[in-house]
Amino acid sequence: MTTSLTAQGVTLRYGDRVVSTRLNLGIPDGAFTAIVGPNACGKSTLLRAFVRLLRPDAGQVELDGREVGGYPSKALARRLGFLPQDPLPPEDIKVRQLVARGRFPHQSLLAVRSPQDKEAVDKAMTAAGVTDLADRLVRELSGGQRQRVWIAMVLAQETPYLLLDEPTSFLDITHQYQLLGLLARLRGEGRTVITVLHDINQACRFADHLVAMRDGRVVAEGNPSDIVDATLIKDVFDLPSVIVPDPVTGTPMVVPTLEEE
């Protein structure tokens, strides 16, 4: 298992609060990595450190053996694509235009849009299933459609890495599964997908590599089938449970045993 994107002994702070101390984590190349853990366990903070939105107080984040801080902005943006949790689209923007903004790191300040840009935008819209929406105003779309448009924007960036912060948060269950299916397909096409997820069962179902965090530490990491058991769920979420195989995929499924009060 090779890991080209790594956090090495990073200490991360959010304002005055130290979130993680000397944390180590390697992201397996070409895998679907899901980071799970209770609220405020530092998973989003870690993701932001990977994409250089947060600079570690100590330690370093490296991509291909080079510290991410040492990359020129656009060069890094051609490697790492990131989608925050609740991005806000500008007024009056249409789907195609928003997706085309993902081409920014491939463009110089003066150059007009190239044929490669157009091709990348078309491909991204096809992959995310938003081609039919191209001329619609983004603010008129439903939540599920809008999230797919943002994914297309990141895809147009044509980065080998996709990092997404809770991309399913504001979607209904059908759109959650559709989106995760899309991410799994992208991984199948050779991209490395790293996503923070709330739902442990979805994470087990879609991820090849699961990272369980609590209090800013990595409690366990590995293939979900290898690491998820009742002890881990108790340790990470404080939740008594039994683990059964998912009837559809056979991946671990967490069923809480907490009695209703």
Binding site: L53, F82, E91, D92, R139, E140, Q157
Partner: protein
């Protein structure tokens, strides 16, 4: 499909004019208004004669008027109009506030305060002196606002407003105590183009020209910045760099415009509103359209300032206020109808 997920009904789709075509139309309109502006005045020159004077100079009285008075004044209107409109577009994008205008960064107040001080010291009597003081005041105010507001657009705008109020109060006090300062200031504080074309304008015009080019170069990174700080940063747009450069451009543009023409409100507020719909979310187009419509609006207002009163000129700032008020109400209603 759940109720929450049903998309909102699509607004009726209008056939869209290509954006380049609209820009071309705007340029033609600008040319026409410029010729009219050069022709109309106390001594009217017919449009055909204006064109002849510009391209085939014969040295007649009409041609001398065109070259020595009217054309420089029209050029000044074009530069000031473009500067104010683009500065307005930039501050609205930076502050993510459609009601912001360049004055909110404290630049105009800084210029006014410096001129009050300058005239109290007896140094800002001539227009050249006023120009120098206005520029110093604008830049000082912008530096102060940037130092306090740092990288937060909200803090920048709030600081600018506070500074405007404080400087305005002090300046008012000074002017009441010192009648001479009051006279000089009163002359400057009426935003007008009349007579201003006779001053040395090479430097402010060059500053405006360079800044307009800079605004075009910045428009792509600003496009990215509109997607929010995190997305812009991870697209490689250099958020801090882009913001700093934008504030500098706003300062130079509105500072130079205010220095040569005095405070002219509404152009920076209204023009970006009017072109927002056709620009359809693109900062480069918004900037280009503002560069064309700002001059058109100011040229029209300047023509109005010459013909509205039989007895003499109305300062152009008063005309823009009269034009701008109703236009603002119209624009806000349009905008509200679109967003619901």
């Amino acid at each position: 499909m759940s109720a929450a997920d049903r998309s909102l009904p699509v607004a009726k789709t209008r056939r869209q004019v290509p954006r380049a075509g609209l820009l071309l139309g705007g340029l033609v309109l600008l040319g026409a208004v410029a010729v009219l502006s050069i022709g109309i005045g106390a001594h009217s020159v017919p449009p055909a004669e204006v064109v002849r004077a510009l391209f085939d100079y014969q040295g007649t009285d009409d041609h001398v008027i065109v070259w020595d008075v009217r054309a420089p004044r029209a050029l000044l209107a074009v530069a000031v109009g473009a500067a104010l409109a683009v500065a307005g577009a930039l501050i609205q994008i930076l502050g993510r506030n459609p009601l912001a205008e360049p004055g909110v960064l404290g630049v105009t107040a800084g210029a006014g305060f410096a001129i009050t001080i300058g005239s109290a010291l007896g140094l800002a009597g001539g227009q050249a002196g006023q120009l120098v003081f206005a520029i110093i005041g604008s830049v000082a105010a912008a530096l102060l606002v940037m130092a306090v507001g740092r990288q937060s657009p909200l803090r920048l705008v709030l600081t600018g407003m506070v500074l405007t109020a404080v400087l305005g109060g002090i300046a008012l006090g000074l002017r009441m105590m010192l009648p001479d300062a009051f006279d000089t200031y009163r002359f400057w504080s009426v935003g007008t183009l009349a007579g201003r074309e006779q001053e040395p304008l090479a430097l402010p015009l060059a500053a405006i020209g360079v800044s307009l080019l800079g605004a075009l170069l910045l428009s792509r990174p600003l496009n990215a910045l509109e997607l929010g700080e995190s997305v812009a940063q991870t697209l490689g747009a250099g958020v801090a760099r882009t913001r700093t450069a934008t504030v500098i451009l706003i300062t130079v543009l509105s500072g130079a415009a205010t220095a040569v023409a005095g405070p002219i409100l509404f152009v920076g507020l209204i023009v970006p509103h009017l072109v927002r719909r056709p620009a359809a979310g693109s900062v480069p187009w918004l900037t280009l359209y503002s560069m064309v419509l700002g001059p058109v609006l100011l040229l029209v207002a300047d023509i109005g300032s010459r013909v509205l009163l039989p007895t003499g000129e109305v300062p152009v700032a008063i005309v823009t206020a009269f034009l701008g008020g109703p236009m603002l109400i119209w624009a806000v209603r349009q905008y509200g109808a679109g967003t619901r």
